[in-house]
């Protein structure tokens, strides 16, 4: 039971947030409150997707560490060739002692040194990058839509003088009939 709650309580809270946003979009009278409800709904959905991409506690962010040098073939080639003199910056980051140590250590060990066999990133160690990409697009599109909705509500205010939905309905019907 404890296990079940621990594995699912997150999703219950996301559903609660989504429903709060949905209720705000439908039940509130003011147009700006409806937009706040829409944004709450959108961010709750993005939270849902991002939490699907989480792996277990040992996994880390989807960026390869040490600027990817441990995993890259080109870096390994380049540093196997220039084994004797100090290398030029590959990406401009090798100033810290950690990298120099690694390189000299590997030199000592194998003679023509460098990282000879780059590792392959293990999928279990990194968070899933695909939902992050989709949600980046979603956030940007969400802000564009928010801007457009706010512009339209300004126009409505200029024309009808109010932002409350019931008064707006009355005025629109009066305009249609009269």
């Amino acid at each position: 039971m404890e296990e079940f709650i621990q594995s699912k309580f997150n999703y219950w809270i996301y559903v609660l947030l989504m429903m709060l946003g949905l209720w705000g979009m439908i039940a509130k009278n003011n147009l700006i409150k409806k937009l706040i409800g829409m944004s709450i709904f959108q961010t709750a959905i993005i939270l849902f997707y991002v939490s699907v991409a989480v792996k277990s506690e040992e996994s880390t962010i989807p960026i390869l560490p040490h600027h990817g040098h441990d995993y890259s073939f080109k870096y390994a080639e380049k540093h196997a060739k220039h084994a004797d003199h100090d290398h030029d910056d590959h990406h401009g980051h090798e100033k810290d002692p950690h990298h120099k140590e690694e390189k000299h250590g590997a030199h000592g060990a194998s003679g023509h040194g460098g990282v000879a066999h780059p590792k392959i990133p293990k999928p279990d160690n990194f968070a899933n990058p695909l939902p992050h990409v989709l949600m980046l697009t979603a956030i940007v599109v969400g802000v564009a839509i928010l801007g457009l909705a706010l512009a339209i509500s300004q126009k409505i205010y200029r024309h009808y003088g109010t932002l409350e939905e019931d008064e707006l309905l009355k005025k629109v019907r009066a305009e249609d009939n009269g």
Partner: protein
């Protein structure tokens, strides 16, 4: 993926969403919406989605709240419910 931290932030998110929807003063509602946005960003950064958290921090608090306040300034500041 720290269990107790997630629970704590999620338990802060729900009241801030409710308050953003219930406040009558629209400027205050936009500010609480900014708070909601920042809490979301914190949650995503803890879950390992750093790019998404960066974008939400820049967009949600930097730009979205400013747009709302600019609109509220040009229209009415009070809401009836």
């Amino acid at each position: 993926m720290i269990f107790s931290f997630d629970l704590l932030v999620l338990l802060f998110l729900i009241p801030s969403a409710i308050i953003a929807l219930q406040l009558r003063n629209l400027v205050a509602a936009s500010m609480v919406f900014g708070i909601y946005s920042f809490l979301m960003c914190l949650l995503w950064a803890e879950m390992g989605a750093v790019d998404v958290a960066f974008t939400e921090a820049a967009v949600g608090a930097g730009v979205s709240a400013v747009f709302m306040i600019a609109t509220v300034y040009q229209t009415t500041r009070k809401s009836s419910d």
